[in-house]
């Protein structure tokens, strides 16, 4: 089996160069766009991630920094409330435990104890003893409540069941907020009795005033139903419903960012009292918390925008310079390659010159002889033979035609390298090119076999360039065969977009090593007269025309070059795709 090697393997370097020559402006635009996009992505994505992460972290830190102290104040104040309640209930417990119900039933004793209680603790409004039937058997205070029956009141039963009772805030007789406390005890007979006291809520205001020092804050007490147990600066008077939605009281101190019914964005800190059905609510405007954050956010945003702008500027400018340099380098390489191509072309022309000179010499010799003959006929007075004269004249004209054909072919070949597309019959171009070598084939008795189907699709390509390609490969085939050797020219439709031209010979063939180098510039097996540029240039041209070359060869059996040519120019095909 003949070894097969595509030229792609042999001339990767050259392919790189050639590819760059296609669609220059668009290719560089794409390159610039891709590099710019890539550089912007790899710089802006980390920058953005860093900016967002930092911003979020700052936000978290600032929030923690501002809210944690508030949380602490809220918790501490709630705890103070608890201690206050605890203390007041403890005082009642102490009295109930220290004195029997009989002693406390005495009005004078109760009054004396009440007076001491007020002096020591303050805030107490009245004090009374209620027997197990719910009747107030002794009472000291500003109201006339002696013998008042509490048996049908809820608090009385709750105090009996729990042993202790603490009421919500209620409006007393003088329309002032009060709170009632009660503790249960048993007398010697095992009958229960209840010591009940009423307190004003002045102490609430005292405790809350420590929190409310800052005028932007609002702190107040609510019960489990959300009823205000103290006045709120923003949300109403005592016993009104708190309009804020309170969190679950079982979860300890909680912070919520909410929008209140008046549309204010506030941070609500809710700290429930553990033992009692109250909670402390502290409300702060969000702006006071996030003021530092908003300021920092603006700075981060400004730095981010400035950095992005700078990156884009630098990326655009450096990419522009980079692509410009790549383009310049490509153009220099292209120029060098074109010069090389031109040199090779001149070399090809030189190689042709001998053959062409011989070819032109023959019709010239005929013209010379025919003209000489006509002169002879005139000189020897034989010019009356008109038929003979005309035959000579026609043969002179025929010979001139032959010369013209040769010069036309040469002129076509010598045109500049730029690609000029036209619709071509590959078979015709192949035959035309073979015309350059016909004489050599004739003299060396070479058998030229044609397998050129008439229905081969026409292609859009460059006639001059194709001639050079065919001439280079045909010249190699002719050089590879001995006199009397065989060269087979075939064309076929490879696929619907490609026409193939196969040029085979039964010459010396090539080793694998030679095949691996044939497309490399300056590699030649024709010692002394080869330039080593024929096949690299051929490759360059075929590539420029959007085609491909395949080589099969075996030492001693011959070589087949197959040239694949697109039916449409490469640019057109790209556009169609």
């Amino acid at each position: 089996m003949p070894e097969t090697r595509t030229w792609r393997e042999s001339v990767k370097k050259m392919r790189g160069q050639e590819d760059k020559k296609k669609n220059l402006p668009r290719r560089y635009k794409t390159l610039r766009r891709n590099i710019t996009a890539l550089m912007i992505l790899v710089t802006i994505i980390p920058l953005t991630v860093m900016a967002v992460t930092s911003a979020l972290q700052y936000q978290k830190n600032i929030k923690a920094e501002r809210i944690t102290p508030m949380q602490a104040i809220a918790s501490k104040t709630a705890h103070s409330f608890e201690l206050f309640m605890e203390e007041r209930l403890s005082a009642l417990h102490f009295i109930a435990s220290s004195y029997s119900s009989e002693i406390l039933s005495g009005q004078a004793t109760l009054h004396r104890i009440f007076r001491i209680l007020r002096e020591e603790y303050g805030g107490y409004v009245d004090l009374g003893l209620i027997n197990n039937e719910g009747r107030q058997v002794s009472y000291t205070g500003p109201y006339d409540l002696l013998n008042k029956d509490y048996s049908d009141q809820q608090w009385f039963h709750e105090a009996r069941v729990r042993g202790v009772y603490l009421s919500d805030v209620f409006m007393g007789y003088r329309d002032l907020p009060h709170i009632a406390l009660a503790v249960e005890n048993l007398n010697e007979k095992g009958e229960s009795w209840i010591l009940r006291a009423t307190m004003d809520t002045k102490k609430f205001r005292d405790l809350l005033s420590q929190v409310n020092l800052d005028p932007i804050r609002d702190a107040f007490i609510v019960n489990d139903e959300g009823v205000l147990q103290s006045d709120s600066r923003l949300y109403g008077k005592v016993l009104e419903n708190c309009p804020l939605e309170l969190p679950d009281s079982s979860s300890g101190t909680q912070v919520k960012e909410v929008t209140d019914p008046d549309g204010r964005n506030v941070v609500m800190i809710y700290s429930p009292l553990v033992k009692y059905d109250f909670g402390l609510v502290m409300v702060l405007p969000q702006t006071s918390i996030y003021k530092a954050w908003h300021s920092l956010k603006q700075e981060i945003f400004f730095v981010y925008i400035a950095s992005v702008a700078l990156i884009i500027l630098v990326v655009f400018s450096s990419t522009h310079r980079l692509v410009k340099r790549i383009r310049e380098a490509d153009e220099k390489r292209e120029t060098a390659f074109r010069e090389l191509e031109y040199t090779q072309k001149l070399s090809s022309i030189g190689r042709l010159a001998a053959g062409v000179a011989h070819e032109i010499n023959n019709p010239l010799s005929i013209i010379n002889e025919k003209a000489g003959l006509m002169k002879d006929l005139v000189d020897h007075d034989m010019h009356h033979d008109k038929e003979k004269l005309m035959r000579s004249v026609n043969q002179v004209l025929n010979s001139v035609d032959r010369c013209r054909n040769i010069t036309h072919r040469l002129l076509g070949f010598a045109k500049r390298i730029g690609v000029k597309y036209e619709v071509l019959d590959v078979n015709e171009v192949l035959r035309e090119t073979l015309g350059f070598l016909e004489k050599e084939a004739h003299h060396r008795d070479l058998q030229i076999e044609f397998n050129l189907p008439e229905d081969l699709p026409r292609i859009s390509s460059d006639r001059g360039q194709l001639q050079q390609v065919f001439l280079n490969i045909l010249s190699n085939a002719f050089a590879a065969v001995d006199d009397g050797g065989r060269v087979v020219l075939s064309t076929f439709e490879h696929d619907e977009n490609t026409v193939a031209v196969s040029i085979g010979d039964n010459g010396h063939g090539m080793s694998e090593e030679t095949m691996s180098q044939i497309f490399e510039p300056f590699f030649t097996t024709k010692k002394g007269y080869g330039t080593g540029l024929g096949l690299p240039i051929t490759y360059g041209i075929v590539n420029k025309l959007g085609g491909d070359i395949k080589v099969e060869s075996k030492v001693g059996e011959g070589t087949v070059f197959t040239i694949f040519l697109p039916t449409q120019p490469p640019g057109d095909r790209d556009n169609e795709q």
Binding site: A357, H358, N361, S365, I366, E369, K370, G372, H442, H443
Partner: protein, 124 residues
Amino acid sequence: MNSKASILLVDDEEEFVTTLAERLEIRGFQPEAATSGQQAVELMENRHFDVMVLDVKMPGMSGLKVMEKARELRPDLPIILLTGHGSTDDGVQGMHQGAFDFLMKPLDIDELISKISEAIAENS
């Protein structure tokens, strides 16, 4: 003295060789045209020629091969070689192999006749 001298003209270009024969005939020679080396050898075998005018580059049997054959058949036959411009090497090689002289195409008829005359004179 050269009239009636018989000359064998060998060239693969038929128009060239027949026209040259005609012109030589006008000048009183007895030319015979052959369009291949093989035909020339056959003519030499059957007829006597005073001079052979032979193209070097011919398909099949080349001019130099015809000359070798002529040396065998007619060692004394003077041979004038015709070469194309730029192919003087072939002419020089021919002279080394015993050609009388060589001329480059296109021919100057007077020069050819002069060479033919020289060859005949030298050979006689």
